[in-house]
Amino acid sequence: MDRNDKNYKRALIANRIAQELHDEDFVNLGIGLPTLVANYIPAGITVHFQSENGIMGVGSAPTPENQDEDLINAGGGHITALPGACYFDSATSFAIIRGGHLNMTVLGALQVDGKGNLANWMIPGKMVPGMGGAMDLVTGAKNVVVAMEHCDKHGNSKILKDCTLPLTAKGKVTLIVTDMALIRITEKGAVLEEIAAGLTVEEVLEHTEADLIVADNIKEFDV
């Protein structure tokens, strides 16, 4: 295994996040890396995946010949519907999201900070894709998990003291999982609870701009 391999990192992050799931959780996964979480559901538990375009019970991707043009996820990708799935309109879909009925949402980030602020929807003057459903998801889900690489391609920390990009939501992130660390946002601050195997706490702190509280019982990822 190559710790610097992008696919290795993504698998590590997705796998660790999957361990946070509980039986019968209702979960929304953002596009990209977060989608991979579905591949690592712990044995013996059932998790229900929602997609904000109007389905609960998202199944795996269909084979090309089984694609249905009227059945997609919020990323526009073809999906299947599991037995027991149901369809609903967008207002109901966001009532589920905003009404606190999702146990978890997993999203990518451009930046996140120690106060639980998240920026993932625009870079002024450069990229303005719009927030889509991200602001609703981050504001409404019980647990808001950020899945991302710890540093950007220049090696700079994406976990800042203060986000500098326009926010998606203020103070709503509950957990950050990167290829280096698991950081929980608590009332006391951002707590470094786990580090990836082979790393030292010092290495993680060095690559993190935000102030971290190092947990007494700090552990290695168990994935």
């Binding site: 369809y87 309109d89 966001f94 602001m135 609703d136 939501a169």
Partner: protein, 217 residues
């Protein structure tokens, strides 16, 4: 009875400066026939209320590509470079609205509400220029209804009263927009006789639907 008309008749009702809600999510569930007819009619200066700007060659992206939109209220532009180019060039005025807020604002118009309070967008750019109200010790953004002259929606089947059912995730924004258009036009695959839809299964009651356009087989 909802009146059955052609897509051409539908497009002819729509005039420059009209406000259009158009159903669909990344073009799935979009009324493609009505959009094509609008492109043909080449009506300009339209305002669009849509979840996403879709793709340059699918959904409302086709109206963008043909430069028929002067403005839009939309939650996501990421799949359409053309709309981003027009936005950067100042050719189209974009109000980005969080998707859940967009749906509640459309629903508010259909349901006769004067607005709704939401925490989505608090402390972000989405809050700019909007009243912030305290209720029971928490802060909320007051979001106002979004009205439209027309709602153009896509459904699977209609009966002749205009009752609608949808197919899978092609449902998305369509039932909410159908409630909210001053005039609602539904593009459907099939029109069945009154009594042929199961009354428990109807998603959009016909009271919300003014016109039906049948897709060609």
């Amino acid at each position: 009875m909802a009146k059955v008309i052609t897509s051409k008749q539908a497009a002819e009702m729509i005039k420059p400066n009209d406000r259009l809600m158009i159903g669909g999510f990344l073009a799935v569930g979009a009324p493609e026939l009505l959009i094509d007819e609008l492109v043909k009619a080449n009506v300009k200066d339209l305002h669009a209320i849509v979840i996403a700007s879709d793709y340059e060659n699918r959904g409302i992206g086709k109206l963008v590509a043909n430069k028929q939109l002067k403005s839009a209220q939309v939650s996501h532009l990421g799949t359409n470079r053309e709309i981003q180019a027009q936005m950067n060039a100042g050719e189209i005025k974009i109000e980005l609205v969080p998707q859940g807020t967009l749906m509640e604002r459309v629903r508010a118009a259909g349901a006769g509400l004067g607005g709704i309070l939401t925490q989505t967008g608090l402390g972000t750019l989405a809050q700019e220029g909007k009243p912030v109200i305290e209720a029971d010790g928490k802060l909320y953004i007051l979001e106002k209804p979004i009205q439209a002259d027309f709602a153009l929606v896509r459904a699977f089947k209609a009966d002749k009263l205009g009752n609608l059912i949808y197919n899978k995730t092609a449902r998305n924004s369509n039932p909410i927009m159908a409630m909210a258009g001053n005039i609602t036009i539904a593009e459907v695959d099939e029109i069945v006789e009154v009594g042929e839809l199961n009354p428990e299964e109807v998603v959009t009651p016909g009271v919300f639907v003014d016109y039906l356009v049948k897709r060609e087989a």
